[in-house]
């Protein structure tokens, strides 16, 4: 861990100015990821700008939806009554992640901006294009059973580790940010990016921009949804594959389907073609399988993670079944329904 300066931002504009003035400064809120990264010398910020006391910690009603301040802790968000009632998919996804202690400390904005869990990224004894552009990607052909099957590049096969973001992607949330050029909103699916040629960039945030809130639209799919997370142990492990599924049914017919996958790509993976395919179809295993087949058609295996393709296919089907039946995956009973 390097030596760094510490400043506390009193206002959002102060925070933005502090980061704009020093590109190697970093915002810190809960610190549940950044501090680890600093201990591993992956991040070496010259300065930490403490944003934890900015007035961004409220959950507010807005346009029929909810505005979630960037500093709302994951635990607060997961147990918020409005979230439980109207966006249970989001609450369940949050509770599927990390541990109680981490959820108490981790913020909404921090969850968005957490870095990958690729082994090589965390190990400065190895090359990594995300950590050190141009050094190479030993995960390709290396230890990669947890790595991506969608949207990889020749430079990076890392995944985004968040559970919360998978639900937010399915719910069509919006990320509101402020930067030196003012405020703007980013559609959730555009917030995280694929690695391409510059895997060091995880998001489309511009330099100096800070997340103000995550805005949820009115529709929460509270009737038919599930967050199904498959992992190597039943708690405190990142997803091998996770599925956020939400359905709107008219009788047995699918009026609308939302489907996002976690643990399989550099960003929450949505396939709108598959969602469109489900529209108007009966809510049956056959329909779900057709959608799953369509999604995994573009999957690319690495040397050790080929199983994820079949796992993703089956998880999509199961997730849609759970959503259709109105029996969401319980995050306390680890038996999969």
């Amino acid at each position: 861990m390097n030596r760094f300066e510490y400043v506390r931002a009193g206002t959002v504009s102060e925070a933005v100015a502090a980061l704009a003035a020093d590109p190697s400064a970093r915002f810190i809120a809960g610190g549940t990821n950044l501090v680890d990264l600093m201990k591993y010398n992956v991040e070496r910020p010259s300065r930490l700008v403490d944003i934890s006391r900015l007035p961004l910690d409220a959950i507010e009603e807005r346009d029929g939806g909810l505005r979630i301040g960037a500093l709302v802790p994951n635990a607060t968000l997961a147990y918020d009554e409005r979230v439980r009632a109207r966006y249970p998919l989001l609450g369940d996804a949050l509770l599927a992640g990390a541990s109680a202690q981490l959820r108490n400390a981790a913020s909404t904005g921090g969850n968005l901006n957490q870095r990958t869990r690729c082994y090589y990224f965390y190990d400065e004894g190895t090359p990594c294009n995300k950590r050190q552009p141009g050094s190479g990607c030993p995960a390709i052909g290396g230890v990669n059973r947890i790595h991506a099957i969608f949207g990889t590049s020749a430079h990076c096969i890392a995944t985004h580790p968040s559970d919360m973001c998978v639900a937010l992607a399915a719910l069509d949330a919006t990320v509101r940010v402020e930067g030196p050029k003012g405020e703007r909103s980013i559609a959730f699916s555009d917030y995280h990016r694929l690695p391409g040629d510059d895997p060091q960039r995880d998001t489309t945030l511009e330099p100096g921009e800070i997340v103000l809130s995550v805005d949820l639209p009115e529709r929460g799919f509270a009737e038919r949804y599930t967050y199904l997370k498959l992992r190597d142990r039943l708690s405190y492990a990142f997803a091998l594959v996770s599925v956020a599924a939400a359905l709107d049914l008219d009788g047995d017919t699918i009026r609308e389907a939302r489907l996002a996958l976690g643990g399989v790509a550099h960003k929450p993976w949505r396939n709108r073609e598959a969602e469109a395919l489900l529209k108007g179809k009966p809510a049956t295993r056959d329909s779900f399988q057709a959608a799953a087949d369509l999604i995994v058609r573009e999957a690319q295996p690495q040397s050790q993670n080929g199983f994820k393709i079949e796992l993703a296919r089956r998880a999509i089907v199961r997730g849609l079944e759970q959503a259709a039946a109105g029996t969401p995956q319980s995050s306390s009973d680890k038996r999969i329904q």
């Binding site: 070496r44 190990d123 230890v143 498959l230 142990r233 796992l311 680890k334 999969i336």
Partner: protein, 751 residues
């Protein structure tokens, strides 16, 4: 010989459920661990680890690190002080044959993560920061870490490791018998490499006491071993070094040998003439020892009734290039089952990794997984019930020891009680026959075995006129309950309350005792404690009898009992004296005694000593999604006398949970191109969490054993042995899928 510790013939404390006497200190944070001791002149060392696995260091540039204010010195192979020259000086008590690794010795890199520099600074944070500024360039060679590609280079270790049984000479003609057997099972088995990962990372604090004397707080399972190592390596007088480690935050074998942080802390302390602490990081816990990889082939030939006609168990195990680490892997097959044609082999293959080491039930976890899975395969192949098959081939004597009988072996009773408790009789033998909702349900079983060992040990006892007893020796309490059982023994032996007994452990100033490991501590130090207390009792009796108008006048020792803090005539309890009065009236400030224990050679000539277990596992498998849940375990243990039913149960529970981890989760993943473990943190190296653990029931089967006066056999290892096989067998029963390469992860269920 006596069945109880108390001369009254009934123990108050031994054999009952008692909470750990060290529990309050641990949960309130009062218990101090090796990395928590301090000194006014304490400096902090931070290790710089090699990023390559093989090759040599071309250069180390420490200039930027040294410029950081607060940095005291950066030690490397280029500026290290001289230590002992001969390799033998680095060989600790439990070292395997070979030349032990020496940190900062020269420019050679033997394994990934090897320490290449130690940055010493005034505080930990400065040392850690400066360590990130040390620039090392290497000339890398291609490492070899996959033993499957090194099979052709395997060899018989020319020197055997002390205390480790090589495979016995074959008997009968296993190959011919196998070829001719009506039913054959021949399969390969493998476990993942596992790392011990105790909660407490390895740490050493060397406190300079002046006059060339040192007090060393070391995370070790045996202070005597660290002491011997330090004096030999640094040429120090025995009396000038005191090694202390009162508490261990988990060891599992990783603290048996002195590890490199101890060497580095003393090296820096000597060089700088000040106190130094070195604490390893969690990722550095992947850089010194591990449960070795092993390729195993088990070949079973049997008649249609399942009676074994041939048994072969062949093992190639990984070791480092500088030491021939050995553990007992195949032999267990020949101990567990009776067969006329047996051949077992055990060879080593060298890799570019750090020397592997003992990890909870070393060898048995590995070998028993293979034989107990193979036996399940034979049960399936012959249509036999897995328990019936084991009873058909039940060994009444140890064929690997020339047919010597077992001192005691209540495995049959363990099988009976375990099966009854589990409800085994209701099992439908057909795989895939039971379903609950989306899940397939499977029931599997296996046997476990571990050696019941004893080592030379001693315990010092002192009784003072306030009625308090102090017991002490140098062994460690791994968190298993040694403090507690010695307290119970002392209280019962002298008729005191447990509150009146204090136990001190883990200090080279205390009575000599072996490292804590191998499940031998209760038998060895327990026996020594009992003898020390008997000695005290006899001294107190003689004092009492010699007093004027003694109520014990003309009574012999064998007629007295000690109970309720009093010494009394057994058949005339009115004739008694308080122990406190005896010492006060006799004007004695303290009674002292040292009790010694050693293996009973006569018994060992006649009998072999093992603990056994019968493990029953229920799994529920969501086959479509590859999810396995272990919903129930019953483990019936035959391990002699149980001193404390609570700490004993906890030990077995811990072993079972570790076995569940071994079966389903634990795996140190190597990048063979880099020769480096990649998931070196507890987020990505998975051990079971609460959500993975459901019902576990432990049964202790009555077993009388005479290998030591306590009738104790030890419990540290037996809980884990066989557990993974029971789970893998249950997975087969649930799904019809046989997984022979642990851990049983999602991909192996799907594939």
């Amino acid at each position: 010989m006596t069945a109880t510790f108390s001369p009254t013939g009934r123990d108050t404390y031994v054999g009952t459920a008692r909470s750990r006497v060290d529990g309050p200190a641990k949960v309130t944070g009062l218990a101090k661990y090796a990395g928590e001791f301090a000194a006014p002149d304490l400096a902090h060392g931070y290790v710089v680890s090699s990023r390559i696995a093989k090759g040599r260091i071309l250069s180390i540039d420490t200039s930027d690190a040294e410029k950081v204010p607060g940095v005291v010195k950066v030690l490397t192979h280029e500026n290290r002080p001289r230590t002992a020259f001969l390799a033998m000086n680095y060989r600790d008590m439990v070292a395997p044959p070979g030349s032990p690794f020496r940190a900062l010795y020269d420019d050679k890199i033997h394994f990934s993560g090897q320490p290449v520099a130690l940055v010493v600074a005034e505080d930990f944070e400065t040392a850690r920061f400066a360590a990130s500024l040390v620039r090392v360039t290497y000339e890398a060679e291609t490492p070899a870490t996959e033993i499957a590609e090194l099979k052709d280079l395997a060899y018989d270790p020319p020197k055997k490791r002390s205390g480790i049984k090589p495979p016995p000479e074959p008997w009968g003609d296993a190959d011919a018998a196998f070829d001719g057997a009506p039913v054959k099972v021949r399969e390969d088995y493998r476990l993942a490499i596992e790392h011990h990962n105790p909660m407490e990372p390895h740490a050493s604090t060397v406190v300079r006491e002046g006059d060339g004397k040192y007090t060393v707080y070391d995370k070790t399972q045996g202070v005597a071993n660290s002491h011997g190592y330090l004096t030999a390596v640094f040429g120090l007088n025995k009396a000038d070094v005191r090694v202390v480690n009162p508490y261990i935050g988990g060891g599992f074998g990783s603290g048996l040998r002195p590890q490199y942080q101890l060497f580095l802390a003393m090296l820096a302390a000597r060089d700088l003439d000040r106190s130094v602490r070195v604490v390893l990081t969690r990722d550095q816990m992947w850089t010194f020892t591990h449960r070795p990889d092993a390729l195993q082939t088990v070949s079973l030939g049997a008649g249609p009734d399942g009676a074994l006609q041939a048994l072969k168990h062949d093992v190639i195990q990984e070791t480092s290039r500088y030491e021939d680490y050995q553990e007992t892997i195949p032999n267990w097959s020949g101990v567990l089952y009776r067969c006329d044609n047996v051949a077992m082999s055990y060879r080593l293959a060298q890799t570019d990794m750090a020397t592997p080491g003992d990890m909870r039930a070393p060898g048995a976890v590995t070998g028993v997984f293979a034989i107990e899975t193979a036996m399940d395969e034979l049960a399936q192949a012959t249509g036999q019930d897995p328990i019936a098959l084991r009873l058909r081939n039940y060994a009444e004597a140890d064929a690997t020891a020339g047919g010597k009988p077992f001192g005691s072996k209540e495995l049959k009773e363990a099988l009976r009680q375990g099966a009854e408790r589990f409800g085994w009789a209701r099992r439908n033998p057909e795989p895939r026959s039971t379903r609950e909702g989306r899940e397939l349900v499977g029931w599997g079983m296996a046997c476990g075995i571990w050696e019941a060992m004893m080592q030379q040990s001693s315990v010092h006892a002192a009784l003072t006129p306030d009625g308090r007893l102090e017991l002490g020796n140098a062994t460690g309490d791994l968190g298993t309950g040694t403090y507690t059982i010695l307290t119970q023994i002392g209280a019962d032996a002298l008729g005191l309350r447990m509150e009146d007994v204090t136990v001190k452990l883990g200090d080279t100033r205390l009575a000599e005792a072996p490292v804590a490991g191998g499940s031998w501590t209760a038998a060895s130090s327990g026996t020594a404690a009992m003898r020390a207390c008997r000695d005290i009792a006899e001294q107190a009796f003689r004092l009492a009898r010699g007093l004027d108008e003694s109520p014990l006048a003309n009574v012999e020792f064998d007629r007295v009992v000690l109970e309720g803090g009093r010494i009394a005539v057994a058949d005339d309890p009115a004739r008694s004296m308080a122990l406190t009065d005896v010492l006060r009236k006799a004007g004695v400030e303290r009674l002292e005694a040292t009790g010694k224990a050693a293996p009973d050679k006569d018994h060992a000539k006649q009998f072999e000593s093992y603990t056994h277990s019968a493990i029953f596992a229920e799994v529920k498998v969501d086959e479509e999604l590859g999810q396995v849940r272990v919903t129930r375990i019953v483990s019936a243990i035959a391990a002699g006398k149980i001193l404390n039913t609570k700490t004993a149960r906890s030990q077995i529970l811990g072993g079972i949970v570790m076995g569940i981890g071994s079966a389903l989760e634990e795996e140190s993943m190597l990048d063979h191109r880099l020769g480096r473990f990649m998931n070196h943190n507890l987020g990505e190296y998975h051990v079971p969490v609460n959500a993975d653990i459901h019902d576990i029931e432990v049964i202790f089967v009555d077993e009388e054993d005479k290998a030591n006066p306590l009738g104790v056999k030890g419990l540290g290892e037996i809980g884990i042995v066989g557990t993974a096989a029971a789970i893998a067998n249950a997975v087969f029963h649930a799904t019809g899928k046989r997984v022979r390469h642990l851990p049983i992860t999602v991909d192996k269920i799907l594939g």
